[in-house]
């Protein structure tokens, strides 16, 4: 288990800055996710961590050793590719053994390690097969096994589940997390799927335009986003601007907004103009000082998604069951503890 320290990492391709002054640390055994939309720089950052791209500036330390200029073959990292990248001419066993042979691991230890990983990943019966004889899920497990068998200091995942169907994705996701915990691996995972990131990670780095917008635990990111981008990207969010009227209670402030007076929490004195955010599922329907008209209703199975117009602002409300339909007028309330001040938008 080793830790990772990234200091002011930047990479430019001509005039385009793909990763811009990114710094973060990963503790040994921690599972962090780089989350962001396509083109935000997360895969580029991962490729710098694995050594396939050389940073324009900044440094990468693995356990306090600067590896910024070390080639991939000499780094204590292992990468799980989005495409699996299995060697098509080699059997599953040979794929698993490939890295061990390169590292000149003795034959007996090689066999032991392959057997252990194959058993962990339920690949025992597939060892003599070629990759094209395996299902997508099995190929993904071979790719994971090929990295695990190396016992790397850091394991890197580049959207490893994106080619799997929804059910298989859930299963492999659980497997990845279990294996990472069992082996005590330091893991850096790249995805654009927020559900995947929330379910897997100890910590998430939300990236946008080559920069880290926010780094926090999944719970903190969800409940206390700092920017409109993070609030929107992680789950659904209603974001509104308002003007602070003054304190309402200890740590609670009142702001005048286009949908009415909203209470929100802030430990510090907020500025006059604020941007506030709340989750659609945190709204209580039926009573409260706020009101609106339902303009859209969408039944989603375990909840119903309502779009409500208050004044000239449309916002979403999610409730488990409701008798409301389009055109119905309703009152609603949002607890001040559920309304978050987007600090980076101030």
């Amino acid at each position: 288990m080793i830790g990772v320290r990234v200091d002011r990492l930047t990479i430019r391709f001509g005039a385009f800055t793909a990763v811009d002054d990114v710094s973060f640390q990963v503790a040994p055994g921690e599972f962090i996710t780089l989350l962001g939309p396509s083109g935000c720089g997360k895969t580029t950052l991962l490729r710098m961590l694995s050594g396939f791209l050389e940073p324009t500036s900044g440094s990468i330390h693995l356990d306090d050793v600067d590896v910024s200029q070390v080639p991939p073959e000499a780094r204590d990292t292992a990468l799980c590719f989005q495409s699996y990248a299995l060697f098509p001419h080699l059997t599953v066993r040979q794929n698993l053994e490939f890295g061990l042979i390169q590292k000149r691991i003795p034959r007996r230890e090689r066999k032991e390690r392959v057997a252990t990983v194959a058993s962990t990943l339920d690949l025992d019966t597939q060892l003599t097969k070629l990759p094209n004889q395996l299902s997508g899920g099995q190929q993904q497990r071979v790719s994971l096994g090929r990295a695990l068998v190396m016992r790397p200091g850091v394991i890197l995942f580049d959207e490893p589940l994106s080619n799997l169907d929804a059910k298989l994705r859930d299963r492999v996701r659980i497997e990845i997390r279990r294996i990472q915990r069992d082996y005590g691996l330091t893991a850096i995972y790249v995805t654009h799927d927020q559900a995947e990131a929330l379910a897997l990670s100890d910590r998430i780095l939300v990236m946008n335009g080559g920069r880290v917008e926010q780094s926090d635990t999944p719970e903190a990111l969800y409940h206390r986003p700092r920017s409109r981008f993070v609030a929107d990207f992680i789950g659904s969010a209603n974001v509104i601007v308002g003007e602070v009227e003054g304190p309402a209670d200890a740590g609670i402030w009142r702001a005048r907004t286009p949908i009415g007076l909203l209470g929100f929490t802030s430990e510090r004195q907020p500025p006059r103009a604020v941007t506030l955010c709340w989750r659609p599922e945190h709204v209580h329907l039926g009573d409260g000082d706020l009101e609106g008209i339902v303009i859209d209703r969408s039944f989603q199975g375990n909840y119903t998604d309502l779009t409500v117009r208050s004044g000239d602002v449309d916002h979403r409300i999610q409730v488990s069951a409701t008798p409301l339909y389009e055109g119905d007028r309703t009152r609603f309330a949002i607890e001040p503890e559920r309304v978050v001040l987007l600090e980076d938008e101030v």
């Binding site: 073959e73 000499a74 989005q82 490939f98 042979i101």
Partner: protein, 285 residues
């Protein structure tokens, strides 16, 4: 297969396969027949082992066999060996890659005879190469390089002419290997040579095999390079065949012709087996 199919399938194949069989088959049959004293161009002719026994007794024949085999094998391996690094270099697009690729493939458009003349001009007694070597002070005076007894000129010309063909085939094969696969190998600790040996070679074996066999067959039967730039102390099999024909000894020429065909077939088989045999070891160490 139904009776109707037994009838229809050969009928459909007849225009293509039939023509090939008729043209190639007739030539092969006549060549083999002539090598056994049949189909004499001067009329008559009877089955005899004499052309074979006489030709096999000639030292010049065996020297030609050895020499042609050598030219075929060396040219094939040299062409492929030179084409691989170039194919890997041209694998990823870069500025000027298309131009470099086109220049490298230019020899495909130059006829063998023209290439041989160009080469002779370069290495002639007062040619560019001799003058260059003197200009840089390596040689004191001009040297005779033409028709060298080691057949270096023939190997150079064969490789120059055939390398672009190997490059053409190998570039496509190498480009079909995904970046991720090569990156994965690198990530697992494989350096440049290990990636080539354990990933690139096994994944391009069939193409390399095809290039080797095709170049070998062409170089084995070399005539034009040999006539203009080849050594004067030995003949290639093609040259020997023409030599016998010019003497009016068609039966001996047929023996050499059949030998060429047998060596082409056997050599191709041996090369294929050889690549398959060493290919078995590639996935391992």
């Amino acid at each position: 297969m139904t009776r109707r199919r037994w009838f229809v399938v050969p009928l459909l194949l007849a225009p293509g396969l039939g023509l090939i069989l008729a043209l190639v088959g007739s030539v092969v049959v006549i060549a083999i027949g002539q090598s056994f004293g049949l189909f004499s161009i001067f009329g008559g002719g009877a089955f005899s082992l004499e052309p074979w026994s006489e030709t096999l007794d000639r030292r010049v024949y065996w020297r030609s066999v050895r020499y042609s085999l050598q030219v075929g094998v060396v040219s094939a391996f040299a062409s492929v060996a030179l084409a691989y690094p170039l194919a890997l270099w041209l694998r990823k697009p870069f500025q000027g890659a298309a131009f470099i690729g086109a220049v490298l493939k230019a020899p495909l458009l130059v006829h063998g005879l023209v290439a041989a003349f160009l080469y002779v001009n370069v290495i002639s007694y007062h040619g560019i190469f001799n003058q260059f070597m003197q200009a840089i002070g390596v040689w004191d005076g001009p040297r005779r390089l033409q028709n060298d007894p080691g057949a270096v000129g023939v190997y150079i010309l064969q490789t120059w002419k055939n390398m672009p063909f190997a490059l053409l085939l190998l570039t496509g094969a190498v480009r079909s290997i995904s970046d991720d696969v090569l990156d994965a190998a690198r990530d697992l600790g494989a350096g440049t040579w290990a990636r080539f040996r354990r990933i690139v070679l096994p994944l391009t074996t069939s193409v390399m095999q095809a290039a080797l066999v095709i170049i070998y067959i062409g170089a084995l039967a070399d005539f034009s390079f040999q006539v203009i730039a080849g050594p004067i102390n030995r003949m290639s099999l093609s040259q020997l065949m023409v030599f016998f024909k010019d003497r009016g000894d068609w039966h001996a020429a047929a023996v050499v012709g059949v030998t060429l065909m047998v060596l082409a077939l056997a050599g191709a088989a041996v090369l294929t087996l050889f690549i398959q045999l060493i290919g078995r070891g590639w996935p391992r160490r």
